[in-house]
Symmetry: C2
Subunit: 514 residues, 2 copies
């Protein structure tokens, strides 16, 4: 058995059944092993940022790591931006990064790069296989590490001679390192402050604390104490819709965030970090909460929020409480798109148990309040701010849902251009994804930022932020990659096209003028 074969068998034995791949020459033996050993579904992406973004989306829905297959340092480089987002989402991913043979690298051939240095910037765990005999146990460790709570990215660099060499040994699954228990003092402190001044307390949720299981407990705590609950601005996945909490996010804009948070004397962090501005600005603070606020970490990102919240609810004797009904489901809005109108329309037509991959950016920051009364769904956010996340994450999420959930991909046009190759994989895998391109023909965030610093964009600036010369024809672009598409000028046209797409099992793209 060669190293590559031991790797494939070890991954399968450890529960990894999906590999997002963009292979090159140094990965040929791994691909050859996949040829003869069944048990891993291979999904091809035509650029590596699609591959890594798919792995992120897959984890967010499947709650277990997939592997990637990347080609040497430059192949990894191409995928780093979405690995950055995955790192911020705390998604588990096992990167398999093929590299030059150990005896070849010192000769510095053209493709040689500092692969370890590149991988280190995004990885929680990193190892370069020494030889074929160590590949199996390295892979088992990589999977275990990426499976822990708040675990993140394992990167296994696989020199081609470790891959083709004989002497491979299959390793069994290793125990997943257990999460450190939440400290009793931390529970007591949170309970005391919630009892004494509940309405001045914010429970700020991050990581798995935004999932349904946690929300049920949080609602009991909130109902018993009068505490407010919010999610971080950059959440990996939020359970939303009927039956889930009406959970606002910390606003993006610094003045709005400061205004929202100034009511709170205490912020209790549940797998969250203390809220800071996305960007710094002259004469604006970086911290978004009151200078005199007490910030209390109930559970860290590497701890189990459900355990922490259950202990807190018990300490508070919080009785069971039903999450309130969000009221009537909105209706489709007619006419030109507005953020609010789009939100109502999506809430009106969204199928049960949908997944929303949200890279709507500036247009979408206000969608939350108008979609509380939609059917239950999961909403995925851009966690690390590296644009080009939406289409690949939608693709990986659809793979994880195995055709059983509709994915709605709300996608700003400028960001879509970073990873548009995703559409080809969506067509190839026949994934039930409805992409809505929010087409304003510009980079609207920097225009807004530009204005917010008090400047009027001049000709050069507007030229750098203008995507209208030439205008991108999203309908023929999608068609060229195998995805059916149509244009919508109004929200009712958008709704009709989306509903049409929900009937089929293929991807569809709506180019919505906003």
């Amino acid at each position: 058995m060669n190293g590559a074969q031991s790797l494939v068998r070890t991954l399968i034995g450890c529960g990894v059944d999906t590999c997002f791949a963009n292979p090159g020459t140094s990965e040929m033996h791994f691909i050859a092993a996949l040829d003869t050993i069944p048990g891993i579904k291979c999904v091809l992406g035509l650029q590596e940022n699609v591959v890594t973004g798919m792995a992120d989306g897959y984890f967010r829905i499947a709650r277990k790591p997939a592997s990637t297959l990347l080609h040497c340092g430059p192949g990894l480089s191409n995928g780093l931006a979405n690995l950055h987002n995955a790192r911020r989402a705390r998604s588990g991913i096992v990167n398999i990064i093929g590299d030059h043979a150990t005896f070849h690298s010192p000769l510095d051939p053209p493709l040689a790069a500092d692969t370890e240095a590149l991988a280190r910037t995004v990885s929680a765990w990193l190892r370069t296989c020494r030889d074929a005999s160590s590949v199996g146990r390295d892979a088992a460790a990589a999977v275990a590490e990426s499976s822990r709570i708040g675990g993140g990215i394992s990167s296994l660099i696989l020199p081609s001679d470790a891959s083709w060499g004989e002497g491979g040994v299959i390793a069994g699954p290793l125990p997943v390192p257990s999460a450190p228990h939440v400290d009793a003092l931390s529970i007591d402190t949170a309970a005391r402050v919630l009892r004494s001044s509940g309405s001045k307390v914010l429970l700020l949720l991050g990581g798995d604390a935004t999932l349904e299981e946690s929300q049920r407990v949080i609602w009991r705590i909130a109902a018993a104490t009068g505490a407010k609950v919010m999610a971080e601005f950059s959440c990996a996945r939020v359970a939303r819709g009927r039956g889930r909490m009406q959970l606002p996010r910390v606003p993006y804009a610094v003045p709005a965030a400061i205004k929202t948070l100034e009511a709170f004397e205490t912020i209790v962090l549940v797998n969250a970090t203390a809220p800071v501005a996305f960007f710094a600005y002259p004469d604006q603070p970086s911290r978004l909460y009151r200078d005199d606020a007490m910030v209390h970490q109930l559970s860290r990102v590497d701890q189990d929020p459900f355990e922490a919240l259950n202990a807190l609810a018990a300490a508070l004797n919080a009785p069971s409480a039903n999450i309130p009904d969000p009221g009537e489901r909105p209706a489709i809005v007619r006419g030109a798109s507005t953020p609010e109108g789009l939100a109502h329309t999506i809430a009106a037509i969204m199928p049960e148990n949908a997944i929303v991959s949200d890279e709507s950016l500036s247009y979408g920051w206000g969608l939350y309040p108008f979609t509380y009364a939609a059917p239950p769904h999961d909403w995925l956010h851009l966690t690390g701010g590296a644009i080009g996340y939406g289409l690949p994450v939608a693709t990986g999420a659809a793979i994880a849902a195995a055709g059983n959930r509709r994915v709605i991909s709300l996608q700003a046009d400028g960001s879509a251009m970073y990873s548009l190759q995703s559409l080809w994989t969506q067509a190839r895998e026949r994934l039930p994804i409805t992409t809505v391109i929010l087409n304003n023909r510009s980079y609207n965030i920097p225009i807004g930022e530009y204005k917010s610093v008090g400047a009027t964009p001049g000709r050069t600036a507007m030229d750098m932020l203008d995507l209208s010369k030439p205008a991108i024809d999203w309908v023929s672009l999608a068609g060229s990659l195998g995805v059916e598409a149509a244009r919508a000028q109004t929200l009712e046209q958008c709704a009709d096209l989306m509903k049409h797409s929900f009937v089929g099992l293929e991807p569809f793209l709506v180019d919505l003028s906003i």
Copy 2:
């Protein structure tokens, strides 16, 4: 004057007049400075690997650095693969990488990354600006370092508070560090071995040794001594066509390269490195030359090859010699495309002084011998093996040539998908680029590699290397990005379309079935 303004004025004063950009929020003050200070042409790319590839192509033709403008660590990450290629091409580039304010980074906001670690993997020079007052002198140093022979990439990380802060100081140009002179002993050794056994000597050219000025001297040396001359497989730019040397490259395939090089007892490296295989293979050597060969470094990559060659020619008393005529210009070939037929056809119709951006990969490895009798032209190669180089480099080369030279972009389909956003910039800037997509609907290199290791690709492997499900419609894809395009089934159709494109000043794409 703020830091950004001092940066723009310093760059202009140091001769940088072109900025390839994909700006974000942290670069707004730099963009604002460009708004009010004329002198830098700004070229927008819709993904950062397009931006960095354009800067590489620009340098290869302009022979002076442009700047890039990149957004934080993830924006830099997206551009690293083509920076890897630029590093291997030894292209001078001044990266301006916007980053979080110095006081904001320690709070670890979502977009924070280890920007220095990422930049270090491709940079010959790296600095993070401390504050507004240091930006000017840092920029002047960055330009000087990237302008030296074999210099390469300077990366200047610009925290947003160094950009917006007052106290900027314009710096004048710094002297470019001079190249170390070539050692007299090195010249003597080369002269001695050439005199004693010229026909057993290979002069292997890299870097600027493949340019026209060097070739004239090399030909004198070769004619006087009987030495053979070749170029490295991975050359940044080779002067070719009538009046230039008929200069073969070291073959890509290991057996062919070994066969070619086994004739040589001595290899004299002129700004080249000793030839090694692109990839290692089981049971094949990594070094491509004879074990008993003497490898003599005449001039290093950081030295002036023209100086070295002139000194060598003088030591040899090599008389002047005319580079021989390559014979009759080939005619257009008819019928289905073959590598040889395509080469003949391109040689037949290529305009005077064209630039060929070659990412034809496996299809194009044999194009050289059939294009010697074309008009004078420059041929640009994939230097670092990171695919997705061709379209951006063609774009940057056309910018450098300022509309005065036709660029022919020979582009494999799989690689084109990595940086297809380039087509939009070509349309926006109305660049005279003729792209020929060599469309085989597959990743053909790995298929070849797979077979060369004695394996037959099975179903999973072929699935991972097959781009035909769905087939990509390159004509509508190009059209959606503003580039006129048409399909060619035969070489005469291809020739007609290319000739049609040469008349206009706009980009054009031919989707050639191969």
